[in-house]
Symmetry: C2
Subunit: 419 residues, 2 copies
């Protein structure tokens, strides 16, 4: 057997909170004006109290509400697949497993938190959400989630993606969301995640019916993604494996990596690897410091690896990884040596992605391709040493809405970045 499914009643019913497993507690977010630690009341204009509570929680497990489970069960648990065809092509003794998050309605892992966030906002009486989106994966996920809870949604989409990737905009509109290009005040600017966050926060503040939703970075977002790693753990056991030797995920804001890797943090023998783009090398070349989450400085300051909140990454195809900062939880674990990071130029990512498509059948999203690249490199290293390594990676989404990137790669139009 090469694919392990779980019936919908086997979905994890509690999220795994990594906070109690850190070497020391996170430093608190600071208020953008006063630079004093923010309290729940500072965040209340943006988020429902339940999410603020999760953001600051030290509880090891947090129950998933039944209403959220009901929707996640539309596609969860997702399959765990052993990439036997890829292994054979590589001639490696390693066993490569991937968690297939591409089977969600939005085609990525993002709905795992979008559904939870929409639920808590709805329960608090909110009728409208604002958000930003880069390549559009987060925006499509939240549009789907809002359609399930009958919430209005205003999406600020990074202009470069808005113009290059109209299909993701149409998907958001099909689910009922409204989409505008960001930055709204600078029509000629290609935009960035940081500036789109500024637009979305500005739209939210001061409207009592409206909250803001973020698709990565924050603790509660990563918490909601831990269903991925929890399921994978159970499925690896079904596959006859004890624990993986290495767990790999793409890393932009960190929710992808946090989702699959955090449940393995207590297992000190398991290596955890963040794969990021060389053109936006937050973890491998950034500094650990307090910085704003957005470009304009509206958000609290977070303790994280950052390239500087005014850093505008080049327009690579993995739009979901074009973020100047990184999750404070992931950053702390990198700083403390529990998570490793590696950076790749995008041409090597697409080379790996095409090999994956031809062997395993699924076309990776450019973000997912970073994990594929790292998994292949780990498997090739195992070939050198003859080690029967067990590799687990997060196949966080399919690339069916990113095929123009493959067109560029296949026709030699993909510029290679400098490190």
């Amino acid at each position: 057997m090469t694919r392990w499914t779980l019936t919908p009643d086997r979905i994890p019913t509690a999220w795994f909170n990594v906070a109690p497993h850190l070497l020391k507690p996170l430093d608190p977010p600071l208020h953008p004006a006063t630079r004093q630690p923010v309290g729940p009341e500072d965040l209340a204009p943006l988020f429902p109290m339940e999410l603020i509570g999760q953001e600051m929680s030290a509880e090891p497990w947090i129950d998933v509400p039944g209403e959220v489970l009901d929707i996640l069960r539309l596609w969860r648990p997702t399959p765990l697949i052993r990439a036997t065809r890829l292994e054979k092509a590589l001639g490696t003794p390693a066993r490569i497993y991937f968690k297939d998050e591409s089977v969600s309605p939005a085609g990525s892992h993002k709905p795992n938190t979008a559904v939870a966030q929409a639920f808590y906002n709805k329960r608090e009486g909110i009728s409208r959400l604002t958000t930003e989106t880069g390549a559009g994966q987060w925006g499509t996920a939240l549009a789907f989630a809002c359609s399930q809870f009958d919430l209005d949604l205003q999406v600020y989409m990074v202009r470069a993606s808005y113009e290059q990737k109209p299909y993701r905009r149409v998907a958001m509109e099909t689910w009922g969301g409204s989409v505008v290009a960001s930055p709204v005040d600078e029509p000629g600017h290609p935009g960035s995640l940081g500036s789109a966050i500024s637009d979305a926060v500005r739209d939210c503040v001061g409207r009592a019916d409206t909250h803001y939703a973020l698709g990565s970075v924050l603790n509660h977002v990563l918490l909601h993604q831990t269903v991925i790693g929890l399921e994978a753990r159970e499925q690896l056991e079904l596959a006859g494996e004890r624990l993986p030797d290495v767990v790999i995920a793409p890393c932009g804001g960190g929710s992808n990596l946090g989702g699959i890797a955090f449940p393995f943090v207590p297992d000190t023998g398991v290596r955890l690897v963040a794969a990021e783009p060389l053109s936006c090398p937050t973890l491998t070349q950034g500094r650990f410091d307090y910085d704003f989450g957005d470009t304009a400085g509206f958000t609290p300051l977070l303790p994280m690896y950052t390239l500087g909140h005014d850093f505008v990454p080049p327009s690579i195809h993995a739009g979901g990884l074009r973020y100047h900062g990184d999750s404070p939880l992931v950053s702390a674990l990198v700083r403390d040596g529990r998570i490793e990071a590696v950076a790749y130029p995008q041409s090597t990512v697409f080379e790996a992605s095409v090999q994956f498509a031809k062997t395993e059948g699924k076309i990776p999203a450019p973000e997912a391709g970073h994990a594929v690249r790292a998994a292949i490199d780990e498997a090739l290293a195992a070939k050198e040493t003859g080690e029967e390594k067990v590799i687990l990676f997060n196949f966080c989404g399919h690339g069916l809405l990113d095929l123009s990137a493959y067109d560029d790669y296949l026709n030699g139009r993909l510029p290679d970045e400098q490190g």
Copy 2:
């Protein structure tokens, strides 16, 4: 529970052959030149002998080779999902189930036969296949299958789709296929499935290393799709249902409908419904007669419902349903009253598709939208009568590569057809 999965070892290991269940045997295909019944040797330049045998077989069950099962298990069995959110939105007492074929690597049901066809060709020593594709679903499926068996592939893509839907072309190229616009000899012509078949057959004939592959219409193609209905039958039992009252599928060439409906043909109480586009109303307005499968008259004459092999359907978005003819098996069952047919204008199809996306989360391919439309109409009829009807339909593919069609619909740019 609203989703029923089966573990990969529960995949059907034999295909269901509907031929023994017809009122009378099919009339044979006729040679295009002599108009005499064709024998296996006439088809040998196009197809491997194993598929020719299946084409003519009267055996009730045909074993699925292990090498084919190994690849189908990458995504099969597919889930059966109860559309409880859609039911609630409709206020219907009906129970609506759909088989989710969108989880395949190519995002549709087409790989079910593509994998089998690639396998039998490879085993007969063939190294190259040619085929046609309309919207691109069949071409992407065969490109995926050929990559699994290391076969070269030349795809003739209907020019209208080649120009409007570059993403599906890129998907085929990512899996290693070559794609050209058809008709190759008439650069200004939008093309049709019929003319693309002519191009693909012409490329194949006379090359010993090359065979031709068809994605629908023929008996062996529909045979390979019966895994859908066989799995659905088992999953409905898990869901506590005895048999469905009605089984619905989109119908272009017939493989979609044959796949889910044929295993229910012996159950005479189960209604079987073909949903086709009003702009290409083969079953509802065509005549039952011998006709060519292609425009140029290269293929054998088949006994089927047809609008005439020179009929060029308007450029609707459900490119996979733009075919002048229909499967002889489906045609015979319609003629004999076992299968009903209904036709819809595309605006009503997109209206239903958007309702489905907002309730069940998944965005239907325009082809799949025809079945969604029919299922909703059946459920609304049940609401009138108060009947607790069990509806099963084939969700044959997602619409993530067809979002320009949704853009047109949402912005009022979709012209409504005349019946």
